[in-house]
Structure formats: structure tokens, C-alpha cells
């Protein structure tokens, strides 16, 4: 049966697979950065004593977290072009699958990250912001110099673990026809008829990257714990 596999197809498809991988990486980086930035703001809004901020933030997070990720991707794929179209007055495909995927990913990841960050902020004893305020710092200074640096440090392992999950989740965008790593392999598989080899390759690549990354997180966790 060994002869039934044709691994040469991977080498032949290397350019397409590489392009797909880069697209996945790009989406990952944007979603991660956006997720952390907006997630931090969402977490701060949720913890605000000002209900005008905390209620909508809580509602948004609960809504997004209750929807399957893949539905959010679909939803934005169809919805964002319509919304943007309405605003700009242009027809149809004003956004395209990549932009809509980016929007979906940032929204979903910011909801996930906001929960992590909220827990991180709450893990900092109340005396810390008090001390910052007592020195005369305002809210943003106390957050930026005192609370968040400590919170992020406590959260680092769990944030990286979430990043690994996010990296795997980027493969979901193939449902809107994007040629990400999995999407590229899938298309190439249909063309060459070697879908098994290509899927195995993608799986092995994902495994290698994510396993390596999680080992790094473990080491990091151990190093932080010593301190």
C-alpha cells in the first residue's frame, strides 16, 4: 500500500502551500493583535463601574462567546459586505472574504481575550491601583503602568495557549473560500487528486507548530513561576 502515497505532490505544491501558510500567519497575527487590544478595552469596559460601558461590553462578550466560531465567520462574510455596502453606497463585494474574516476573527478573539484579561486584571490586589492613585496617577496611568503590566505577566501562559488555539482556528476560514494553509491544500488536493497526502501534511505541520509552541509556553510558565 505504501506505493499508493505520492509525497512528491507536496514538493510540487510548495509555492501554493507556502502562500496559504503565509495567509494563515497573516490572519493569525492580525487577529491576535486586534484581539488583545480590543480584548483589553472590553475587559476594562466590563470592569467599569460605569454601566454605559459595562453593560454593552458584557452583552457583546456573552453574545459572541455563545455563537460557534464558524458561524461568526459566515455571518461576517455575508453581513459585513452588506453593511459596508449600505454605508458606502457601493454594491456587494466591497469587503471580500479576507477582510470579513479579519473582522470576524478580531471580534471573536477580542471577546475570548477580554475574559482572560478581565480575570488577569481582577487577579491584581486592589491595593495596587490604590497605590497608583495615591501617587496621583489617573485611571489610564494606573492601568498602563501598574495594573496591566502585572496582569499581562500573570496571564502570559494562558494568553499564549489561546494564541495556539487561534492559530488552529485560522483554518476555519477555508469555509468562505479563502486560500489559507488548509484551503490551499484542499484546492491543490482537488486539482491533483492527492488530497490525503496534502491533508496529512497540513495536519503534521499544524501539529509540529502547535506542539512546539505549547512546549515553549510550558517552559515560560516554569520560568515565571520561579520568580
Amino acid at each position: 500500500m505504501e506505493g499508493a502515497f505520492d509525497w512528491a505532490v507536496i514538493w510540487k505544491s510548495r509555492q501554493i502551500l507556502w502562500d496559504g501558510f503565509l495567509l494563515s500567519l497573516q490572519l493569525f497575527a492580525i487577529a491576535l493583535a486586534g484581539g488583545i487590544v480590543f480584548g483589553t478595552l472590553l475587559a476594562m469596559a466590563r470592569l467599569s463601574s460605569w454601566r454605559v460601558l459595562s453593560w454593552p461590553a458584557t452583552g457583546f462578550v456573552n453574545l459572541i462567546r455563545s455563537i460557534p466560531f464558524i458561524m461568526a465567520i459566515f455571518w461576517f462574510y455575508f453581513l459585513t459586505p452588506m453593511v459596508v455596502g449600505k454605508i458606502t453606497g457601493q454594491q456587494g463585494e466591497a469587503v471580500g472574504p479576507f477582510m470579513s474574516a479579519v473582522v470576524a476573527f478580531i471580534m471573536v478573539e477580542s471577546a475570548y481575550y477580554s475574559e482572560i484579561i478581565r480575570a488577569g486584571i481582577q487577579s491584581i490586589p486592589r491595593g495596587q491601583p490604590w497605590a497608583a492613585y495615591a501617587l496621583g496617577m489617573g485611571y489610564w496611568q494606573a492601568m498602563g503602568h501598574v495594573v496591566l503590566p502585572q496582569a499581562f505577566r500573570n496571564m502570559l501562559p494562558i494568553m499564549l495557549t489561546q494564541a495556539i488555539i487561534l492559530f488552529q482556528d485560522t483554518s476555519l476560514v477555508y469555509v468562505v473560500g479563502l486560500k489559507d494553509f488548509l484551503g490551499a491544500a484542499s484546492k491543490q488536493g482537488q486539482i491533483t487528486g492527492r488530497i490525503v497526502e496534502l491533508y496529512i501534511f497540513v495536519a503534521v505541520a499544524f501539529f509540529a507548530i502547535c506542539f512546539l509552541a505549547s512546549q515553549l509556553v510550558k517552559r515560560l510558565q516554569a520560568r515565571i513561576a520561579v520568580r
Binding site: 490586589p125 491595593g127 490604590w130 492613585y133 495615591a134 501617587l135 496621583g136 503590566p149 520568580r227
Partner: protein
């Protein structure tokens, strides 16, 4: 004009009243010790002075500035009042020197060099100049609290608030912190101290305030307080903490 003026301050946590019409004043250069059983509202009251704890009724005025006035620049007012906490509250992710400098740089707008120099001068004063590059977690509790005092002093405060500064310390470290506070009091710093250290109160306090169940029960000169406290509760409290 008193440095700190507390007028009929009342505060509730939900339905629970933690402070009831607390009124007192602290003159410039005066040292006032606040004592009382746990849960009597001492720490809450002292945190009302720089509005770390909001209060619903009454007024606090510091150096002529009303704390609760919406027009008051609260961060600016707080930067002029030093505060020392029970659990030190040094910033654990910063070195000692950065702890000393950050408020001066970010709040007072001093240059980094100036802030460092000034911070280190105060660090030297509390006897810890050689610890400047350490992280707070590498210091003993007593050392951390001395750094915290130096951090507050390097902001050039017009008054200092101490919220049980020695309660979280091992017994052998209490004196190194009290020594710094005594020295500060003798230099004429305006101080309000929540503490159970009656030795400290006897040595440097001008007045003693005794609180119970959110009320100021006694507010009198030190000698009167230790000589003949008028209220039964203060007598009971004193007999409990002084009988060793």
C-alpha cells in the same frame, strides 16, 4: 486653616453604614493617631481623606481644597498627600529605584534623572540606599515598607497618611518602620496614622482619635487619652491592647 478638615463624613456600603458623621481636623505639623477595634472604620476614614474611598455625605478639605468638589483635580490633590498602606503596595514589577521615580516622572513631570536622584536621597534616608536595584519581592517586609515611605516622601507631600503601616510586619521589623515614622514626625510632617502601636502614639502623637462602629468616639490630646479616656469603650480597648 487646618491642613486636613473632616466634616461630618458618612459612608455606606450598600445598606451598611461604615462611617457615621465623622468630624475631626489636623493642623499643619500635627501628628494624629487613629486607633480602635478592627472593623471600626479607621482604614475607611483615612482613605476618604484622599478619596480612595468615596463617601456619600460630608466634606473633606485638604489644604483648602475640597476633595469631593467635582472641580477638584483629584489626581493632583492626591499627589500632594503621601499614603502608606498596610501591605506596602510597592509595584512588584519595578525595581526599587523605579518605584521611587515613577510617580515623580509620570505625575509631577520631573525628569528621570531628577526623580532618580531625589528618590535615592530618600532611600538613603530610610537606610536602604544599597537596595536600589532590587525588586520589592527580594526585600523583607520592613524594608518594603521603608521603601514605600521613601516613595511617598519623594513626591514632597504636604501631609502623610499611614494605614496600619506595621500590621503586616513580623515583630522584629516593626521598629525599623516606626523609627522612620518617629523621625518624620519630629521633623514636623503633618501625619495621620491608623495604628495600634501605642508606644508610637505616646512618643510622637499630639492627638489620639478612637473609633468604634464607624464613629469617632474620642478625639483628644494624647495625654488625656492615655490618662483618662472618657468613654468606656476606649478604656476597654486600651486595657486589652496594653495589658501585656
Amino acid at each position: 486653616m487646618p491642613m486636613i478638615d473632616v466634616q461630618k463624613v458618612s459612608k455606606w456600603y450598600g445598606a451598611f453604614k461604615v462611617l457615621t458623621e465623622c468630624t475631626t481636623r489636623v493642623e499643619k505639623g500635627e501628628v494624629v493617631v487613629i486607633c480602635g477595634p478592627s472593623g471600626s472604620g479607621k482604614s475607611t476614614l483615612i482613605k476618604c481623606i484622599n478619596a480612595l474611598e468615596p463617601f456619600q455625605e460630608g466634606q473633606v478639605t485638604v489644604d483648602g481644597v475640597r476633595v469631593k468638589d467635582p472641580a477638584t483635580d483629584l489626581p493632583k490633590l492626591r499627589s500632594r498627600i503621601g499614603m502608606v498602606f498596610q501591605n506596602f503596595e510597592l509595584f512588584p514589577h519595578m525595581r526599587v529605584s523605579e518605584n521611587l521615580a515613577i510617580g515623580q516622572v509620570k505625575v509631577l513631570g520631573r525628569s528621570r534623572d531628577e526623580a532618580m536622584e531625589r528618590g535615592l536621597r530618600y532611600l538613603d534616608r530610610v537606610g536602604l540606599a544599597n537596595q536600589r536595584d532590587k525588586y520589592p519581592g527580594q526585600l523583607s517586609g520592613g524594608q518594603q515598607q521603608r521603601v514605600a515611605i521613601a516613595r511617598a516622601l519623594s513626591m514632597d507631600p504636604i501631609a502623610m497618611l499611614f494605614d496600619e503601616p506595621t500590621s503586616a510586619l513580623d515583630p522584629e521589623m516593626i521598629n525599623e518602620v516606626l523609627d522612620v515614622m518617629v523621625e518624620l514626625a519630629r521633623e514636623g510632617m503633618t501625619m495621620m496614622c491608623v495604628t495600634h502601636e501605642m508606644g508610637f502614639a505616646r512618643t510622637v502623637a499630639h492627638r489620639v482619635i478612637f473609633m468604634d462602629e464607624g464613629r469617632i468616639v474620642e478625639d483628644c490630646a494624647k495625654d488625656d487619652f492615655f490618662g483618662q479616656p472618657r468613654s468606656e469603650r476606649a478604656q476597654l480597648f486600651l486595657s486589652k491592647i496594653l495589658h501585656h
